[in-house]
Symmetry: C2
Subunit: 255 residues, 2 copies
């Protein structure tokens, strides 16, 4: 057996999870043993108590934080000292992205490292390549369109219907976009989804999964193009299984 | 809803699994719904009955085959017409790799497409990046050494112990290599594992997983470097969990 190891090799980073709603934090907890988990849905205080959240995670011994899942912005009130810092940094007109950036800045200022869902569970990241089916066109222009939409903080996905029609995602989300596409009689429909170019990829990566594939199949969307590495595939193998059995094509395009 | 779709969009590729032994085919069956599965361990005929295997998969309606898991070469006897074709193509002095290549050629000649485990389940592929811990040196030379070893069809992994000692994997496999490293008192030990440059990556990709991490931790190997995309990580998240809690560093290096 080895002799004494240099201390730096024994360094263990204790990662805590700040879990919002949706499937992502559930999957993460199945896959990753977090040092502590704070479920924001059952956290008894308003989400403006940011300093209290920090203290809880520190008392639990966490050195790094992973933020995952959706958080209802309406619950960001009754600010404590930390919440006030975040609100001031974000500014009065802050969008969701800016508020999140300020929150991250606060956690880092308090000494936490930030780990993305794709860092603690890299197998969640959409891999590059034709994942199933076959691709017969260059997906770049559609992805550029999705990115441009993201830059405007509107949505992260677009659907190409037939030759000339493009549908754009809005605040209602990707599944609503896909349902809208279902009402268009075009024969060839393709979904493109990409990360917002300006977003902090350690938090709030765009996600997709079996539900997306199911909705796409129903709506006649036969090809789904995702930005590889910068999107998260929830239950990738199940999603590909479904796509194979429905004859859909799924492609991850390297950024 | 969409109107009639072009027939090519409704094309479903029916993939069958030829399952050898070990954890890989078990994981694949958990993750992927195969059209048919032929378990080679319980297949009542000798593995030389390659034509019979083909017929079984064709009768089940399979159009593509995924080969996964280890196969005992000693069972390749009592050749039927297909087996004889494979043996002749491989030649009398064939190593494992050449025999496998000939087998693949036979299946393809019979009209099957070949799909790798990393194709039907891309989340099995080791992702690129520092997956946990921190890397303080350039891993290239160790990986080159592992690849050179693979080129000689000896093994696929090497361990660097201290400054000058390198241990090489042989037919006994990676875990035995790691145990040997445990008997060396060097403070810094690093494992490198890469695909053989000449091997068909659709079959027989090198694998690693939680067992590798456990063995490494016990043997004082604190850093594990794998070739990304060209190695398969069985139970990646569990493996990273273990590495985090043991303070090990795991890195996927893009080829």
């Amino acid at each position: 057996m080895a002799g004494a190891l240099p201390a730096r090799w024994n360094r263990i980073v204790k990662i805590g999870l700040l879990a919002g709603s949706g499937r992502l934090p559930i999957i993460l907890r199945e896959r990753v043993t977090f040092h502590h988990c704070l479920d924001l849905a059952t956290w008894p205080r308003p989400l403006g108590a940011v300093q209290a959240i920090c203290q809880t995670m520190k008392q639990a011994g966490c050195e790094a934080l992973c933020l995952a899942g959706a958080v209802d912005r309406q619950r960001f009130h009754d600010l404590d000292e930390g919440g006030a810092w975040v609100a001031q940094r974000a500014g009065p007109e802050a969008g969701d992205g800016q508020l999140l950036d300020a929150l991250i800045a606060y956690f880092e200022q308090q000494g936490f490292k930030i780990r993305g869902a794709g860092d603690v569970s890299p197998s969640l990241r959409t891999p590059a390549g034709v994942l199933t089916g076959a691709l017969s066109f260059d997906p770049t222009s559609g992805l550029v369109r999705a990115r441009t939409l993201g830059q405007q903080d509107v949505g992260q996905a677009v659907i190409h219907c037939g030759e000339t029609l493009w549908l754009y995602e809005d605040a209602a989300g990707t599944n609503t976009l896909i349902k809208r596409a279902g009402e268009i009689p075009a024969a060839v429909k393709t979904l493109f989804k990409a990360a917002k170019p300006q977003q902090d990829l350690r938090v709030d990566m765009p996600t997709w999964g079996p539900e997306t594939v199911r909705a796409a199949a129903q709506a006649g969307v036969r090809t789904l193009i995702f930005e590889a590495e910068k999107t998260l595939a929830l239950d990738l193998d199940e999603a590909l299984d479904q796509a194979r059995h429905q004859g859909l094509t799924i492609v991850g395009v390297a950024p």
